[in-house]
Structures are given as C-alpha cells and as structure tokens.
C-alpha cells in the first residue's frame, strides 16, 4: 500500500506552490484535483475555438517575485507582462484615463479638480507607506499573539517594530485604516466623485462590502500593494492567460518529482486517532499519506470534507461561520474586434488598457444594495480588461477576449435558486451596461461565458464563489486567518495543514499562502527549509 509523504488537496496555484516546495525538499508528494484540469481559479481554458479565457482570475500583481525566481517559473513558461492605462466611466458619460506618465496623469486629474490633482501625491505616498508594511508580512507566518514561543515573540516584536517605524501619527492612521470604509478614507483626500469612485472600486472587489462599509479601505490596499517588477500598484497579465502561472508551478513541481492526479475529487479527509492519514476520493479510492494539506477554503474543508466527530469542539462552528460570502460574477466575452468606447480617444495605448465602469460612489453603493436584497445589481460595477490587446496568444489576431469582473452578484437569490435563465439574464445586464458606453459592442460578440457565484462554486469549489477563500476583513486577517489560534497553517487535527487563500495573507494569485504553509510543514518534519525569504525593492 503506497503511502505518500504528503497529499495536497486542490491543484490551484497555492496547492501547487505548496507541493512544489515540499517536493523540492525531497518529499514524495501527490496533488489531487477534482477537475480534469489544474489551476483552480488561476486557469486558462479554450472556451471557444481559438479563444483562451482566463475564466476566473484575470490579472496578476501579488505573485511573489521571489517565488517566481526561486522556482524558475520563467523556464517553465511563465512570462508576466504589465499592462498600462485604465479608463473609468462615470454615469454621465464622463471618462477619466490613468496614464503611465506622472505629468499626463496630473494634467488629467487637474481637468477634473486641481485640488485632487495635488492631493493625489499625498494619497499615493500614504498608500505606498501602508502597502510597504503589509507587503513585508506576505511571505511570513503570522505570529500567534497569545503564544510564548520564542519564534512567536520574535515575530511579534518584528511586527511591532515595523509598525512603530511608521511614526506615531501614521501608526494611529494605520490602525484606523484597517477598520475604515474606502469612502471615509478617500474623503480625506479627494472632492471629485469620479476620482473617488475610481479609487474606491478596488476596495470592494471580491468582497460583500460596499464602498461605504467599514473594512473596505484595507481591501483597497490589498489590491494596490502588489507590484510588477517593483512598480508597486501595477498589474500584469500572464502570457497565455492565468493558467500559465499554475502550469509553470506544476512544471516546477514535476521537475522536483511531485505528481498530480486530476479528476480526483476528495470526498473525505481520513482521520485516525486524531491524526490525518489520507483522503477518500469521490470514486471511493483511499490514498494514504503522512500529512494532508488542504488547499480548499476553510469552510469547505471542515464542513464538507471532514467528519464532524473528528474535529475538536468549536472548529466546526468556526468553519460554518467563516465569512466567505460570494459577491461577484464574471462575464468572459469573445469579440470579433476591439471595442470603441464613447469619450475615449482613439489612442493605441489607452484603448488597450482596462475599463472601469464605476459610475459614481452612489452607483457603487446602490449596486451593493441589490446584493443585500438577494438580487444581482441592476447597474453593476464592472472591471474589464482586454488581455488579447496585449497578449497575442489568447485570441485570433485582430479578434479579442474581454474579461469582465462584475459586482455585485449574490450566491443565493431572494427569489429561489440560480437557473440557467437567471444566469443569462445576469449576463445580459452586464452586456447591456457595456453597450451603453460602447455602442455596437453587442455586434462584436462572438461568444460569451457567464459565471455567477453559483458556477464559480460548482466548478472551482470556492464556497459561495468567494474569490478570496474568505473575506479580507480584520477579523479574518493575519493571526485571525482563517481562525484565531490556527493562523500558522497547522490545523486542529495532527498532520493536517491548510495552504489556500483562507490562510494568511489571503486572496490573490500570490503563491504566498502555499509557500508559507510549506515552510511550516518542513519545520514540523525537521527538514531543511526550501522556501525563500521575500526580497523587496523598498527594503
């Protein structure tokens, strides 16, 4: 009877990263994946002849450069290309472009508000200061604040020192920042509504919060603290789609001797005498291992894949109440040409960036109201990118693929379960909105794939279709993620670990959760650490 050193459940990018580092240290690892393809939510699929959709996640900024370099992901086919220029659209048809030159950006903001153009410098500086601090924690295991272990005390002191180095005033600001709403945070800088709406939109992406909800300021930061080659706040596309990231990590895993089994969903995690001993697959096969690592979200792991009686009291309840609310949908559209938008110059650079259909602060909040009432937004916030304008490999030449991330879209509807008809009606809402800003858009559509939280959960396994594997609010961050006392990747059952975005540092294609978990596992197994330390531009 074969016994692996480790079985990792779920071939998403974090599971693959975790497995790659365990394999690199010489362990015999197996990744089991329920789908017939790997990647989880970092996946590229040919959904229409010649069109390759990044069906779920679509841009990348948090990917730890250190891991990219250390696992030699370029050799395994990964090229990350930064993209420039996003246009935001106001309800009244106004547009605002982000330019990549500071001067052009300043002139553009001045046209809307000379005050805000000046304030932008302070805003960017403050944001960079906050981002710098939190970036340093990404590839570190959060300390347990109640522990007296030397390592936890050392890490707590390090964290305290980092916070204190902000200076007294900024320290207060920073603490406020964690609990503020994006709107309140932005009010301190800006007066123009479209500028505020544009800046607030990252504060709600992937989250069942509105721009006026406390906690949305941190989520804003979570979306701007990444970088591409040291350009903090920049976003990139993976050449070949987001699946190129997962495929490259899988390449590194295989190079180190690890194996992947697709079409192998896990029914139960086997526990014997308080120790994880393996998994039972959906087809009934039992696979054994010394340790089991779940890359599934915390709620799915404990409430669906474990026997309640195997768990210590309280954990099941914690998992059941883990805040993992789906809020977003995705409409992937194949287009026969590059769409043109009203009030946007016919400019080869800005026409190829992203589009943010933000409307106004009011519109963003009203969109959230619909979610609260169990309806998809009638006038949704849409964040779009046309990756094919940058990446020649994802659509036929001259034709395009447009990724549309949509908020809000609830996992459960007030008027009964999701049906294909409701899904298509949601898609129509999105397409109708884009058409308003881009007359003739509908005529360009060759194929569209509409994904509500229902589809995302069914396919990827993310509970409620929450893209972060659990919301990024302070009650579920750092040493609280996923649960207080279990933030160091070790789970209440011996020999069982978690490595997905439900753990620190949370959602986003970063590979950090998987790598951090691997470091802890190797420490427990008393094997040499293979996980690199993060390096920074702004040391």
């Amino acid at each position: 009877m074969k016994k692996y050193d480790a079985i990792i459940i779920g071939a998403g990018h974090n599971g693959l990263t975790n497995a790659a580092y365990l394999a690199k240290s010489g362990l015999d690892v197996l990744v089991v994946e329920k789908n017939d393809y790997i990647g989880g939510a970092a996946v590229t699929r040919e959904m229409h002849d010649g069109w390759f959709y990044s069906s779920c996640s679509y841009v990348c900024s948090m990917m730890r450069q250190t891991i990219h370099r250390d696992l030699n992901l370029t050799k395994h086919g990964l090229v990350l290309v930064p993209y420039l220029g996003t246009v935001v659209f106001a309800d009244n048809g106004d547009t605002m472009t982000s330019y990549n030159s500071e001067e052009a950006e300043y002139n553009q903001l001045r046209r809307r508000s000379p005050h805000d153009a000046d304030a932008m410098f302070r805003f960017q500086t403050d944001l960079a200061r906050y981002a710098q601090l939190i970036r340093k924690t990404l590839l570190r295991t959060p300390p347990d604040p109640t522990s007296f272990k030397p390592r936890d005390i050392r890490e707590l002191l390090w964290l305290a020192k980092e916070f204190w180095s902000l200076g007294e005033r900024e320290l207060y600001e920073y603490i406020r920042f964690f609990t503020m709403s994006a709107a309140d945070f932005l009010d301190d800088y800006f007066e123009d509504d479209l500028i505020k709406a544009a800046m607030a939109s990252p504060g709600v992406i992937g989250t069942a919060l509105g721009v006026y909800s406390p906690g949305s300021a941190y989520i804003l930061l979570h979306h701007v603290m990444g970088d591409v080659d040291g350009n903090i706040g920049a976003w990139g596309l993976a050449r070949g789609g987001m699946g190129a990231i997962s495929n490259a990590i899988a390449g590194a895993l295989q190079e180190h001797g690890g194996t992947i089994r697709t079409g192998a969903g896990v029914d139960k995690i086997l526990v014997k005498n308080g120790r994880a001993t393996g998994v039972v697959l959906d087809n009934g096969d039992e696979l054994y291992a010394n340790i089991v690592v779940s890359n599934m979200d915390a709620k799915r792991t404990f409430t669906q894949c474990m026997d309640k009686n195997d768990l210590p009291p309280g954990i099941y309840e914690k998992a059941k109440n883990f805040k993992i609310r789906g809020s977003s949908g995705k409409v992937n559209i194949a287009l026969s040409g590059l769409p043109k938008f009203n009030n946007v110059a016919d400019n080869r650079y800005i026409n190829r960036g992203g589009q943010g259909f933000v409307g106004s602060m009011e519109t963003m909040e009203r969109a959230y109201d619909c979610w609260k009432h169990g309806r998809w937004s009638e006038d949704p916030f849409i964040e779009s990118v046309i990756p094919s304008a940058w990446d020649p490999t994802v659509a036929p030449p001259g034709q395009h693929w447009m990724s549309n991330f949509v908020q809000y879209c609830p996992p459960k509807l007030a008027d009964g379960p999701w049906t294909p008809e409701k899904r298509d009606a949601f898609g129509k809402t999105v397409i109708d909105k884009i058409e308003r800003y881009s007359p003739g858009f509908k005529d360009l559509i060759v194929h569209a794939e509409v994904r509500t939280p229902h589809e995302i959960e069914a396919e990827i396994g993310l509970t409620e279709g929450n893209i972060f594997q659990g919301e990024l609010t302070i009650d579920q961050l750092l040493f609280n993620r996923p649960f207080p006392g279990y933030a160091q990747y070790r789970m209440p059952i011996k020999n069982m670990y978690m490595c997905g975005s439900s753990t620190h540092p949370g959602g986003g294609v970063s590979s950090a959760c998987g790598a951090n978990a691997a470091r802890e596992i190797l420490m427990d197994l008393k094997r040499p650490n293979t996980v690199p330390e993060d390096d920074f531009y702004d040391e």
């Binding site: 370099r69 930064p82 990549n100 591409v228 990446d391 030449p397």
Partner: protein, 405 residues
C-alpha cells in the same frame, strides 16, 4: 512688392539628422525622449521603456537602425581584405548569409564588432556601431581591386524583433519568410512591386526571434506603413535605446562603451580589451592565414588574460550598476567590475555582465551595490553566481520555421 521671407535655419549644420523613418516615429514619440546616435536624432524610448521592452518579448517591435554605420565593400579583393581585417574566417561565409565579426588592432585589442553580409561573391555589407571608414581604408592597404562605399545615409534599416514578427511579415506578403534561417538573407517585393527592393535578414540584437529590414531611404515610409498595417493586430510598437539595452543584456550581447572600450579611442594602456577577455574567443580563427592582430592574439592566448567577461545572477533585486566585485563578503579583495546590470522583467532575476579577474572566477564573487532611497544612499553586498547560458534564449529564436508565437 515684398518678397516672401525665406526661412533659413542658421544652425542647420548643427542640428541632428532625421532618419527616413522619422516622420512616423516622431508621431509615436509621445514622451519626446530623444537622444542621438551617430548624428541622428534617436529615440531613447517612445512611450514607456518597459512597455517597449515587453513588446520585444511578447509581441513585436521596431528599432530604427538607420544611424548604424554601413559600408559596401565590393570588388575582386573585397573578401580577402575583410578576411585580413576581421578575426573570423570570411572565406567560409556563403552568399546571402550574415556573420558576426570583430576586428582588432595589431596589438589584438578590439576596435569594434559588427556584422558582414555577403550580398554577392565580390560584394559585402559591413555594419557596425561607430564610424569606421578610416580603419577600413587602412585595412585595405595593399588591396587595389576593391571599393569602399559608406552607405550609412543611403541604406535605411529597421530592426523588427519579437515572437510575432514572422507572422507579421507573412501577413505583409513576404512569401516564404518562415523558411528564412537565422543569419540568412532574402529579397522581397514591397507593396506589390515587381522588383525586390526589400532585403530581409534574420538577425537582431535582442536574442529573440527577429529580422532586420533593409530598404532604400525613399521607400522607407512605404515599408513602415506596410509593416505597421500588417502588425496592427500583432502588437507592433517602436522601441528605443532603453528597451534595446535591456533586451541585449538578457541575451548576453556586448555593447561598445559598456562592455568594451574601442581600442582606437582608448587612452590608458590596456584599458581596451582582447576578444578573449570579452569571451569572444569563438570569433577568433587561428586556422586562417594572417589577419590583423593574429600574432598578438596568439601570444595572449598562450599567456592567458587578466579579465573574463561573465554573466552574473545576483542575489536580491537591486541592479548592480557600476558595482565593484570582490572575492569576499568583507570586500577586501577586489576582483572585477560590473559593465551592465539590470533587473530582468522576463526572467525575474537580477542580472549583469561583468569583467572578472580570470583567476578569481572559481571562487566566490560578491558585488557591492549602491542604491538610493528617497535621496539617501545605501549600499549592500550581494552574492553573484556565474551563468554559462544567456539569461533569455527562447527556442523560437533558433527554430526554422519559428513555431507560432
């Protein structure tokens, strides 16, 4: 009656020349980032250097090489003369092929590097970075049956680099371009012409799939328009010196003024380099008869050489620009210096070319890196690892026909 005032620019002689492609390039140079090269107005970048660099690595991009120096050497003695001038065996070069060469002083010190195109049995095109007519004349001493013509201003050229280039040229109607092998030359009609005024070589300075397009200046804009029309759906973009410098460093290519100091412009004794020091030993062919610098190079080969140019992979992400190299972490024993350094966005590595004492190559190498943070200067010591292969060398650059991008 007043005569219309004639506008004469009294400084015309001092202004930079404009390349035949200038009109189109100026329209796209949104940042007015101009510098100069060999008397031509020349773009550092057009929009964003990193964007342009990524066009070279991800789609396709054009680089104006009109300012490059170009000479036609023709006549029965042309081959013999070039063979005596350069260190490589030119007699082995077949027609419609290109070869990379360098040439040295009698002391075996590198004057310049460049490429030789064999256009016909007795007709060669030599290209190089710096004006070289004087040295060519000197090198022709004793050969009467040849002419040297400076065609720098009368032959326009555009380097066209990146993974989608072959597709774009195919779309432009260049029949059979996919069968052109690296370092080969072919001629094509342009915009439906009956003749073949467009010369294409599968050459470049980026280490990626790419071509160089050679055309008479009066047809330069016709070429540009045809190329940009075909390239529109394939991400075409002009790139400047900044992106070129990034791409060539990843490919491990040397640059005059960076890796080597041209011998004819070197004041200090042996501050110039031999081809051996630049790891260009594969360019030196002692099997052929006399060539310029042969004796000195034979001696240098026997004696060994002080420095060796190496590729370094450096810890951390601070580019080791102008760093000194040491054999120890405490920086007590100096063993060399970095010539070019950058963060490589495609490889995600901190890379450099460096001259290292040949004897120190086997030991540790540490770089003392200077960087500044909000006006305050800092330094750090980082470990360096010598790399044999180029940092970036995709298969598509070598394969014929190149695989679809």
């Amino acid at each position: 009656m007043n005569k219309p005032m004639q506008v004469v620019d009294p400084y015309a002689g001092e202004r930079l020349k404009l390349s035949p492609f200038h009109e189109r390039q100026a329209a796209l140079n949104l940042r007015d980032a101009w510098s100069s090269w060999n008397g031509y107005k020349f773009a550092d970048y057009y929009y964003d250097e990193e964007y342009e660099y990524f066009c070279v690595r991800n789609s396709c991009a054009t680089y104006d090489i009109c300012p490059m120096q170009k000479y036609i050497i023709s006549g029965p003695d042309a081959e013999a003369m070039l063979d005596r001038m350069v260190t490589r065996d030119v007699s082995k070069l077949k027609q419609d092929r290109v070869t990379y060469v360098c040439w040295c002083t009698d002391e075996g010190r590198l004057i310049d590097d460049g490429t030789i195109f064999k256009l016909a049995e007795d007709r060669f095109l030599l290209t190089c970075g710096s004006p070289s007519l004087a040295w060519l004349r000197k090198s022709a001493f004793g050969y009467d049956a040849l002419t040297i013509e400076d065609v720098s201003d009368t032959l326009a050229a555009l380097s066209f680099q990146g993974p989608t280039t072959c597709e774009v040229l195919k779309k432009m109607g260049l029949d059979g371009i996919e069968n052109l092998k690296p370092f080969s030359i072919a001629h094509f009609p342009l915009a439906g012409s009956n003749d073949s005024p467009l010369m294409v070589s599968r050459t470049g300075f980026t280490g990626d799939l790419g071509y160089e397009l050679w055309i008479a200046p009066e047809l330069a804009l016709t070429l540009w328009d045809a190329l940009y029309a075909a390239g529109e759906d394939y991400g075409i973009q002009p790139y400047g010196e900044a992106a070129t410098n990034m791409a060539r460093l990843e490919a491990g290519f040397i640059m005059p003024g960076m890796e080597f100091n041209e011998a004819l412009k070197t004041i200090h004794f042996e501050y110039d380099q031999t081809p051996f020091e630049l790891s260009l030993d594969w360019l030196v062919d002692f099997k052929k008869p006399h060539f310029n610098g042969r004796e000195a190079l034979l001696k240098a080969q026997r004696k060994g050489f002080n420095y060796t140019l190496v590729k370094l992979d450096i810890d951390g992400n601070k580019p080791a620009e102008e760093s000194l190299l040491y054999a120890d972490r405490n920086c007590e024993k100096e063993i060399g210096y970095v010539t070019s350094a950058m963060w490589s966005p495609v490889v995600k590595a901190n890379i450099a070319l460096a001259m290292v004492h040949s004897k120190a190559l086997k030991g540790d190498i540490w770089a003392e890196i200077y960087y500044s943070k909000e006006l305050r200067h800092h330094s750090k010591i980082a470990r360096c690892v010598v790399k044999k292969a180029p940092f970036w060398s995709p298969a598509r650059a070598r394969v014929t026909p190149p695989a679809a991008f």
